[in-house]
């Protein structure tokens, strides 16, 4: 389980999985990142996620070839994977943004309509 905006959501909900994948792609687009750092970034942005949620997402994105990896030893010793976006990853991020904008507009319209109905 993880939370968005304080509301607990089931982590196998496809929509949440998709949102997290999109946000992870965006984070990686901005800077080369490693697993633990990605968790910290997502939490700073307001998601409440742990490593158990983010690592499988990173692996899935890597397996889909949206992310490429560079391995270097971490300051603590073990090899660390640094993720960056591939060309396919950039395309997928663009598609995610388009879909998200469309859905956001639709949902906003629906919600505003609901408010107007209540005012009447």
């Amino acid at each position: 389980m993880y939370c968005i905006g304080g509301e607990a959501m089931n982590n196998d909900t496809q929509i949440v999985k998709g949102i997290l994948e999109g946000c992870t792609l965006k984070i990686v687009e901005n800077e080369e990142i490693y697993g633990y750092k990605a968790v910290e970034k997502l939490n700073t942005l307001g998601f409440e996620v742990n490593e158990a949620t983010v690592y499988p997402i990173l692996t899935r994105l890597q397996n889909k070839e949206y992310l490429k990896i560079d391995k270097r030893p971490s300051p603590y010793g073990p090899m660390r994977k640094y993720y960056s976006l591939t060309k396919t990853g950039k395309e997928s991020l663009r598609e995610f943004k388009d879909t998200w904008d469309r859905i956001k507009n639709i949902v906003n319209k629906v919600m505003e309509g609901d408010k107007n109905d209540k005012k009447k």
Binding site: Y36, N50, A52, S74, Y76, K81
Partner: protein, 281 residues
């Protein structure tokens, strides 16, 4: 040493002792019945005892000893890591993927530990975490195909190994005339197709007692065989099951077929794995 490691080590010692006691008793009865023992049998028994003794340090080095980076994890973190590692190592992922996930886990968990985060907040339920990792590579419904291929390979290895072992005891008889007891073939079949996959699946949970499942199954099977021998031996089917033999390698062509099957199955497995693992959602 964690509870899991203690159980793994103790079960390997117990299994080695069972094998040693069995071969010594076998030696004793052979000498008692025949008053003589041939040199091949003596060498074979020596090799079996030596392998049993060596198996314990091998288990320690491969399954128990912590690596340099694993030692950096606190007990709380290590217990969670151990469950994830066992689940991944006993999965159908390729050895490259397994190594990669192990490295990733160590990096992530050591980083989280250094930042002062409690293990339960980082990992949550380690079994769920491991399942999510495996799901990110393949849909679980398709993995039994790979387990069946593994089962066939184990079965071939066991059949060839046991045939060679039996032949060593009586090298004056042609290798292709060597027969294996039907009960032994059943035993090897159950080990290959049921016991190994079930043990692999169960050892990736909190229940570490599952590591003694192979030893327990061996004991139960021997007891079962002795009980039916004692009470139902007059039944023809039981008699055939216990003492009937089948030549599993009756000629050179079957032997070649077995040998060719191994690399063929390995290639097939590699091909299926590539296809299956590309399609995870």
């Amino acid at each position: 040493m964690t509870k899991r490691n203690k159980i793994v080590l103790l079960s390997s010692i117990f299994l080695a002792l069972c094998v040693i006691v069995t071969v010594i008793l076998n030696l004793k009865y052979t000498i008692h019945d025949n008053n003589v023992i041939n040199i091949e049998s003596f060498i074979l028994i020596g090799i079996v005892i030596l392998l049993s003794i060596i198996s314990v340090p091998i288990v320690y080095f491969l399954k128990v000893r912590k690596s340099k980076f694993e030692r950096m994890l606190s007990n709380e973190y290590f217990q969670k890591y151990e469950i994830i590692r066992d689940a991944v190592m006993n999965s159908q992922l390729s050895s490259i993927n397994k190594k990669e996930i192990k490295e990733d886990m160590l990096d992530i968990l050591i980083s989280a530990q250094k930042s002062g985060k409690p293990a339960k907040d980082t990992v949550g339920n380690p079994e769920t975490f491991a399942r999510e990792i495996l799901l990110s590579y393949a849909r679980p419904g398709r993995l039994p195909v790979l387990s069946i291929i593994d089962g066939i390979m184990y079965f071939i290895f066991f059949i060839l190994g046991v045939s060679i072992f039996i032949w060593f005891e009586q090298t004056d008889v042609s290798f292709f005339k060597t027969g294996i007891d039907i009960s032994m073939i059943t035993f090897l079949f159950i080990i290959s197709f049921i016991l190994i996959p079930v043990t692999k699946r169960l050892t990736s949970t909190h229940n570490y007692w599952m590591f003694i499942l192979p030893v327990a199954f061996g004991i139960v099977f021997v007891l079962f065989a002795e009980i039916i021998r004692r009470f139902f031996y007059s039944n023809e089917i039981i008699r055939q099951f216990l003492d009937g033999t089948v030549g599993m390698v009756p000629n050179i062509f079957i032997l070649i077929l077995y040998i060719i099957l191994i690399p063929t199955l390995l290639f097939f497995k590699y091909y299926i794995r590539r296809r299956l693992f590309r399609i995870a959602d």
